[in-house]
């Protein structure tokens, strides 16, 4: 009967009255009596609830509580209802049967002796007072006690739909800069409403904070670094500084990749990790800076001075994990992030044998093969790792078809003389086995024959066979770390990702036309952007240049130290594949002492290792601190040496 009166209140139904009557032992309640009762009870209940609302309001609450009802009963001279407690939510259970529907609260029988024998509950904490600044001269400081100035949702909305910001220009609620003083007067005087420029002014405190944080992050004091990273990953209100932070990271990576400064690269990646972990930040607008940096740390041919000694593998693993995290968090149907990242790694694994079969016509065929074969093992390792983190499906589609060729590379390097190469090949092999084994186990049916594997997978066949057999026998039936971790983030499989062959076909003619000479000029002001700890001379020149024959095509994205060619924001507009010119300096525009890094390489296309470390002329940079970083968990950090051992094992 309450249906039609929805607007002006509902009332108890006759059935409810009958059920209640039954529960107190009145068997047959007539309809008339029930109606009379229902009306009366409804009226009285509503009056009581109305009165209890007053108590709720005066207790400065917005949620009615049982004490309010008790108080309302009290002023009506009715005894309170004892024995009710108020849990956060009342779980109404529903039951139906015999044509009747019931909602009830389940009441469990309580064993008194159990309660009596149980240890007394903890005394609740005493009320205490704590003071903080909600506003200082009209500006809300971004301290943890205050709500974040721009909520993550707002940041997300802004990056997805920038128009939303324009539609409400005077948002006084958001605690940014107050519209007072100069800004207000400016606003009043200018009648033409132009699009508001993003204010990138940082307060003095913010500048200090930026300086402290960046110094701590790349400095030598591990304790301070931990604090700084903690601050980056937890503090709200960093979003105003985010552009600077991202530029710092991207510039730092560019400089330190050239200088092969492993430690600093690791520190920078940890900064990325911290920013990603910060709950109050939404990084989508800055991915165009972060993704190239991270991918550089995954697939760069050289990340350290002594590839045979230093554990740059750990950095690649870590960065690959970061990349997977970025893909997982920010992939949308519009930015196709994961597709593009996958394509990037897949390109690094470009298999020359396939290109030979498909498109190998004309004079460029031989050179193509040779150039591709020169993809360093370290880059291959990075690409494999990067793909592996994206999930087993990606592994199946992009790594497995190339395993034969990869095996040839590994075989060649293992049998070769170069110590570093052998180490790299060993690592690559280990990594391939680790990544592929779980996938292969899923693909193939149990009777594993070593010969089949050999036939299908080439050099790596036998080892893969062993690895698969080992997994099958182990009870946990799971792959090792990486593969398991990525199962959950099975990617929405890249429909538009071109198969390697197609990509090559389309790719080849394009790159033929691109610039022949590769040169990299990176200039950065020394402080604080240049994190290289030991650069005493005010000016330093390192020149990198690579001369190539004009027909050189299909350069690997990660083949050169300074070549960072991921432009996540513009898929079609790949900026001049062969050269990257980066300049950075303080925003003021003044000309500080600049550092120009130029690396030069001999023009020879038939030289086996075109940019081997020995041929890069550059000032040596000493690594100040041992690169230490946490892998994923952010917990206590294991030295990279240990990681190294695990890789080689």
């Amino acid at each position: 009967m309450g249906d039609s009166e929805f607007v002006y209140g509902s009332s108890l139904s006759l059935d409810s009255m009958k059920v209640i009557a039954e529960s107190i032992g009145i068997g047959a309640l007539g309809d008339d009596a029930a109606k009379e009762l229902a009306d009366d009870v409804t009226f009285r209940l509503k009056v009581i609830v109305q009165d209890s609302m007053k108590f709720m309001h005066h207790s400065k609450r917005q949620k009615l509580s049982i004490t309010d009802i008790d108080n309302a009963l009290k002023i009506k001279n009715i005894e309170c209802q004892y024995g009710f407690i108020q849990p956060d939510s009342l779980p109404f259970r529903f039951a139906s049967g015999g044509g009747r529907e019931l909602h009830f609260i389940e009441e469990k029988e309580v064993d008194l002796s159990e309660i009596l024998s149980a240890p007394p509950p903890k005394i609740p904490l005493d009320v205490s007072v704590r003071a903080h600044w909600l506003s200082v001269d009209g500006v809300q400081p971004t301290v943890p006690e205050n709500p974040p100035p721009l909520s993550k949702e707002a940041q997300k909305l802004e990056s997805v739909d920038p128009i939303s910001k324009l539609s409400k220009p005077t948002n006084k609620d958001a605690a940014g800069k107050p519209m007072c003083g100069k800004a207000a007067r400016l606003k009043a005087s200018e009648s033409v409403h132009v699009k508001q420029l993003a204010t990138h002014e940082l307060s003095v405190e913010q500048q200090l904070y930026y300086k402290e944080i960046t110094e701590a992050c790349v400095g030598s004091d591990e304790g301070r670094r931990a604090e700084a990273l903690q601050s980056l990953s937890c503090d709200p209100g960093l979003h105003e500084m985010l552009p600077r932070m991202c530029t710092f990271i991207s510039e730092g990576v560019k400089v330190n990749v050239v200088q092969n400064n492993l430690a600093l690269l690791i520190y920078l990646m940890r900064m990325v990790k911290a920013l990603l972990d910060n709950q109050s930040l939404y990084l989508e607008k800055y991915l165009h800076e972060l993704i190239p940096s991270v991918s550089t740390c995954i697939v760069s041919r050289q990340l350290c001075l002594r590839p045979e000694m230093d554990n740059h593998w750990a950095l690649r693993d870590f960065a690959a994990r970061l990349m997977a995290q970025i893909c997982k968090t920010f992939n949308t149907s519009t930015n196709n992030l994961q597709t593009r990242v996958t394509r990037l790694f897949a390109k690094a694994l470009q298999c020359p044998s396939q290109t030979n079969n498909e498109s190998g016509v004309g004079p460029s065929m031989v050179t193509t093969m040779k150039e591709s074969e020169k993809t360093p093992l370290a880059s291959l390792y990075g690409a494999v790792q990067g793909l592996a983190e994206l999930g087993p499906e990606v592994v199946k589609v992009f790594i497995l078809p190339r395993v034969r060729w990869l095996g040839e590379r590994v075989e060649g390097a293992l049998s070769g003389l170069g110590g570093a190469d052998r180490l790299a090949a060993g690592n690559l092999k280990h990594q391939l086995l680790k990544v592929l084994a779980p996938v292969v186990r899923q693909l193939r049916q149990p009777p594993d024959l070593s010969d089949d594997y050999k036939r299908d997978y080439g050099y790596l066949g036998p080892s893969l066979h062993q690895a698969v057999a080992k997994i099958r026998s182990s009870p946990s039936a799971g792959g090792s770390g990486g593969a398991v971790a990525v199962v959950t983030c099975t990617p929405p499989l890249v429909p538009s990702a071109p198969s390697p062959q197609q990509s090559h076909i389309t790719h080849t003619p394009k790159t033929v036309e691109t610039v022949a000479s590769r040169n990299v000029v990176i200039s950065a002001s020394p402080a604080p952007q240049s994190p290289a700890p030991s650069t005493p001379p005010p000016q330093k020149f390192v020149i990198v240049s690579q001369q190539k024959p004009p027909q050189v095509i299909n350069t690997q994205p990660a083949s050169g130290a300074g070549h960072i060619m991921v432009h996540s924001s513009q898929p079609t507009l790949v900026r001049s594949q062969n050269s990257v010119v980066v300049t950075s300096g303080p925003a003021s525009g003044a000309a500080p002492p600049q550092k120009v890094v130029v690396v030069g390489v001999q023009p020879s296309h038939h030289q086996a290792s075109i940019s081997a470390p020995g041929q890069v002329s550059q000032a040596p940079v000493s690594v100040v601190a041992k690169p230490v970083f946490a892998r994923g968990s952010g917990g206590p950090q294991a030295p990279p040496e240990l990681d190294d051992l695990s890789h080689l094992a």
């Binding site: 002006y8 005066h58 009320v127 003071a131 506003s135 605690a175």
Partner: protein, 651 residues
């Protein structure tokens, strides 16, 4: 006896009573009533009357809908200039029609009537209609607060002369139905005012009270809203206002503004609106009080001038681990103590400075002290017994308000147990229990000069007390519903009360009479604050609306845009009166440009009557907290804003 025949029998009885034989016979034949029934015609006189009145035109349930429809059409077709005023008639007529339908037992029709026309009523009436819709039976009217108010009081509607004559003409034409005429005669008081009909905004600004608008006659009394002449204090430094004046000179537009604000502050001696100092007997200042006053003045001289360009800093005190138990807060005038009342009936006092809270020595030890010593006040305090927080026990119900006296030695509290208690901040014990209120006491406030205090409660009264009397000096009664908040005027001569009947009333402490009734709120009023100059009264309601009334006329001078989304429970004026801060349960503090508000109100007075503009320009800033509803606001003497809220956990 069949129900159907009862009215007929009643008519027969009536005919017999008046000895109209012929008609009686005809009726008997026509109705073919048997002799048996005819014989026992002995209906009691009362029942007879009730049956017969039921046949009055008003008992016809269908005539109501028709009549209301006609009235609606009349309002819609009237001239634009009168339309808005006339439309205020609709709601009371509607309500009384509903109640009449209930009274005449047409319950089904009443419900239908409410369904049909209820949604057409103004949005702020909907809450009342919901409360009224509970009443579905004659007997329930008596128990329902709202229905009783409507049936025992007259609803006030203000009409211009034109509008009222139009209405008269309309009613004259309505000969067929007397329903509307009867309702307007019995339950509605039409106030005719000279002047043109008001616009929609103007009408809306003042309507909203449970019984409509305030009548103008009620607000004729002169109110001395000026400030009292402050007694001279020896340690007085250079007058504060002069200093401000010097500071302001470079800024020209500001100076003009400041001048207006300071009118009352600057010339307390010649203020024509100030009451005589001895209008209300005020207590003599004690030696210690004078020292305190001197301190306050010195502090005030260091005050920061606030304005839209220099906003105050806000220090927020968060009560941790309190959940929903913390109910009310107060900070003493010199901002050194914080008191919090809890729903578990105790009161806690914290010190906000490094100075710890000290208790007084025991009686035996006090006897040993040399009373003539200069530092007797220091000596009588216990040396060892120090604490940053002290708890006061005594109430037996939620503590709804705590208040420090102006001199920081006493604390008042009121509670659900219907008592007001006076506590000593030296012995940390309860001194007096004031009993008088019958039901929970919602609010209690000190007079700015101490000694007097006022309390308000669920019993629909506010009471004025003196600390040395255990019975109230005055009882202010007149509100139609709970009195939810009270506030003393800065000159201690008046008390303002806000109520669930959505009116704000101003009472004269001397005579105990109501001198202003101010309508315009559309929801229960929970907090009141007088401006520093004493002329303006800001009030915050449960729907988050904020109004500023002009005491001199009793009309609302500004309806600030309703930007709060939850009840406002805290209001505070900056010490220089330029910024109004409001704190709400929606976890935000908003700062309003009060100088601009009053300036606009003054400007309007010169031109048109009180026209209200909803402009967001009054809002200076809004600050959100992390899920800590604001329960108290306080400006320090140097214009730092202190806010108190209890953290309710992360959402």
């Amino acid at each position: 006896m069949g129900d159907k025949n009862t009215p007929l029998l009643a008519v027969l009885q009536l005919l017999r009573k008046y000895n109209l034989k012929g008609t009686e016979d005809i009726l008997r034949k026509e109705a073919s009533l048997g002799d048996v029934e005819y014989e026992n015609l002995d209906l009691p006189e009362v029942e007879l009357a009730s049956i017969l009145t039921a046949h009055h035109t008003e008992s016809d349930p269908y005539s109501y809908e028709f009549a209301y429809d006609t009235l609606k059409k009349f309002v819609e077709n009237s001239l634009d200039i009168n339309k808005h005023e006339l439309s205020t008639l609709l709601y009371p007529v509607f309500v009384h029609m509903y109640l009449l339908l209930i009274i005449y037992d047409h319950n089904e029709h009443a419900v239908n009537f409410l369904e049909k026309f209820g949604t057409e009523q103004e949005d702020y009436c909907q809450e009342d209609l919901k409360r009224l819709s509970i009443v579905k039976h004659k007997d329930q009217i008596k128990g329902n607060e709202l229905a009783e108010i409507y049936s025992t009081n007259k609803f006030v509607v203000q009409l211009s002369r034109d509008a009222s004559s139009q209405l008269k003409r309309f009613l004259h034409e309505q000969k067929s139905s007397t329903v509307i005429i009867n309702i307007i005669n019995n339950h509605i008081q039409v106030e005719v005012h000279d002047g043109p009909g008001r616009t929609q905004a103007q009408v809306r600004a003042t309507t909203g009270g449970i019984l409509g608008e305030a009548t103008r006659n009620e607000n004729r009394t002169k109110v001395y809203y000026g400030l009292l002449k402050e007694p001279d204090i020896q340690v007085l430094p250079a007058p504060v206002e002069d200093e401000e004046e010097v500071e302001e000179t470079p800024d020209k537009p500001k100076k003009k503004k400041a001048k207006k604000d300071n009118i009352f502050m600057k010339k307390p001696k010649s203020d024509p609106n100030a009451p005589p100092n001895d209008r209300i007997p005020l207590p003599e200042l004690k030696e210690t009080d004078k020292i305190e006053k001197g301190k306050a003045l010195r502090e005030a001289s260091k005050r920061i001038q606030l304005g839209p360009e220099s906003l105050p800093s806000i220090c927020f005190y968060t009560l941790l681990n309190s959940g929903h138990t913390a109910v009310c807060t107060d900070i003493c005038d010199d901002s050194t103590l914080l008191a919090v009342g809890f729903s578990n009936s105790h009161i806690k006092v914290w010190t906000l400075t490094p100075v710890k809270l000290r208790g007084m020595k025991s009686a035996e030890k006090l006897q040993d002290i040399d009373r003539e010593a200069g530092d007797v006040l220091v000596r009588m305090m216990e040396e060892k017994d120090r604490d940053t927080c002290r708890t006061l026990y005594g109430h037996s119900g939620s503590v709804y308000k705590v208040a420090f006296d102006p001199f920081k030695t006493l604390l008042l509290s009121c509670s659900e147990d219907s008592t007001v208690r006076l506590w000593s901040l030296q012995c940390w014990t309860c001194l007096v229990v004031y009993r008088g209120h019958v039901w929970p006491v919602w609010d209690v406030r000190w007079s700015p000069h101490g000694h007097y205090f006022v309390s308000a409660g669920h019993d629909r009264t506010a009471r004025l007390w003196a600390t040395d009397h255990h019975q109230p000096l005055r009882i202010f009664s007149g509100h139609l519903s709970d009195v939810d908040c009270v506030q003393f005027h800065p000159n201690s001569n008046y008390v303002a009360t806000g109520s669930s009947d959505r009116t704000v009333r101003l009472w004269d402490c001397l005579t105990g009479t109501q001198v202003r009734i101010m309508t315009g709120h559309k929801s229960t009023i929970f907090t009141l604050a007088f401006s520093v100059c004493g002329r303006w009264l800001a009030s915050g309601g449960s729907a988050g609306e904020l109004l500023v009334f002009d005491i001199s006329t009793g009309s609302p001078s500004a309806l600030l845009p309703p930007l709060h989304t939850a009840p406002i429970h805290a209001l505070a004026f900056s010490r220089d009166g330029t910024v109004l801060s409001s704190g709400s349960l929606d976890c935000t503090i908003k700062l309003w440009d009060f100088a601009a508000i009053t300036e606009e109100a003054n400007g309007e007075e010169a031109g048109a009557n009180n026209s209200i503009q909803k402009e967001e320009k009054f809002l200076l800033r809004s600050f959100a907290t992390k899920n800590s509803p604001i329960k108290g606001l306080h400006f320090t003497r140097r214009n730092l804003l202190l806010a108190v809220g209890s953290y309710e956990g992360s959402a």
